[in-house]
Amino acid sequence: MTKRTLPRLYMVSNSLERPYPAKELPELVRQLTAQLPVIVQLREKHLDARTLYELTLYLQSLMHDSDSLLFLNERLDITLAAGADGTHFPEKSCPIEKIRTVAPGMLLGKSTHSLQSALSAEEEGADYLIFGPIFDTPLKRRYGSPMGLEKLEKVSRNVSIPVFAIGGITPENTRQCMDHGAYGIAALSIFHVTTNLAVTLENFKNALDQ
């Protein structure tokens, strides 16, 4: 597999906290990927492997004609089985170089919460990083206080792989993240809480394209 240009908008799924997971996620993915190229990361730890595999195949069919990419959180076996595009790993995980030996052509990314771990992830061979939380967000409070834009800039300057900013990202603060070196932005809640997804996406697109 050749590495395609990574989309700059990244959606992390977490249906467990949604009222109608089975219905909401596919509909959201369909709308997102129909409007612009997105990386969709399936992060559904409550699902058994068979259900996750079947959901992956279903989402792939919805994304078929787009330039979007589908990643799985951690389960590189399901990525391989379904022929999805990549796997994303938490900060603490099996080393990326080890994973690379099992899945040579796969896009591999890593969550990082410090400059040190960002540098290690790049050294291990990660293709991209998610760094955050940048701004305050209830979902990410367990990772400590927000990093802020200065740390984002420091990380972005010190690694040569794409860095996606995460944590409290909105269309309004996306430009700031880009100005501080981010390659793109990653988000979750905003796609669910927005009353007009098409407008939110258009605003994201404008902020990312500037």
């Binding site: 492997a49 068979r50 595999y53 389960r75 590189l76 076996d77 089985a81 938490p90 995980s93 099996c94």
Partner: protein
């Protein structure tokens, strides 16, 4: 690696250190370890898997990871054990390659035959007796089911569910190649001795 009769497969219990448990079971004579912990992070599973794999090499035992084929691949385990709600068996076989061991949990001859067609190397058949280790629904299969499945199958049958030193012999006599246990070893005051007692009982009915 061969699954030799009578084999004891120790499946790690969630509430104890999997590495310590495995070491005790191996010292007691277990020749197969299955790392199983549904709630653990991928990182912990990987670290445990690397350590248990080494112990298994020393004891010439087979090392299998439950459900997480990703962990089995990265930690270079000998194989993976999948339930009916895990990845489809034929895909797991493709990802594992020909050499690695694929085990599938089954609860009937029909499921066992499908598992064999998908390329599995052994089936875990259960539950044979009532058990509380994994909240099982449905009635225990009993030893007659072991005979039915093992006579009709080309791969080893490893019996699971409620197996203790007092019934391990019956299970082997019924045709099982071996047994898989969690609580009988994990909850024993001396897990090494509990393991060797089980093996002794299996062996005595083969002589």
């Amino acid at each position: 690696m061969q699954i030799k009769r009578p084999i004891l497969c120790y499946i790690t219990a969630d509430n104890l250190c999997p590495v310590e448990q495995s070491e005790k079971a191996l010292e007691g004579g277990a020749r197969m370890i299955q790392l199983r912990n549904k709630g653990a992070s991928g990182s912990d599973l990987y670290d445990w898997a690397v350590r248990i794999r080494k112990l298994c090499r020393i004891h010439e035992a087979i090392f299998i990871v439950n459900d997480r084929l990703d962990v089995a691949l990265t930690a270079n385990a000998d194989g993976v054990h999948l339930g009916q709600r895990d990845l489809p068996a034929h895909l797991a076989r493709t990802l594992l390659g020909k050499e690695k061991i694929l085990g599938i949990s089954v609860s009937s001859l029909a499921e066992a035959e499908i598992a064999v067609r998908a390329g599995c190397d052994y089936v875990g058949l259960g539950h044979i007796y009532p058990t509380f280790s994994k909240q099982k629904t449905g009635r225990p299969l009993g030893t007659a089911c072991i005979t039915e499945v093992s006579q009709n199958l080309s791969v080893p049958v490893i019996a699971i569910g409620g197996i203790t030193a007092s019934n391990a012999g019956d299970v082997i006599r019924a045709g099982a190649t071996g047994i898989a246990v969690i609580s009988t070893v994990a909850e024993a005051p001396d897990p090494r001795k509990a393991t060797s007692d089980l093996i002794q009982n299996m062996r005595s009915c083969l002589q």
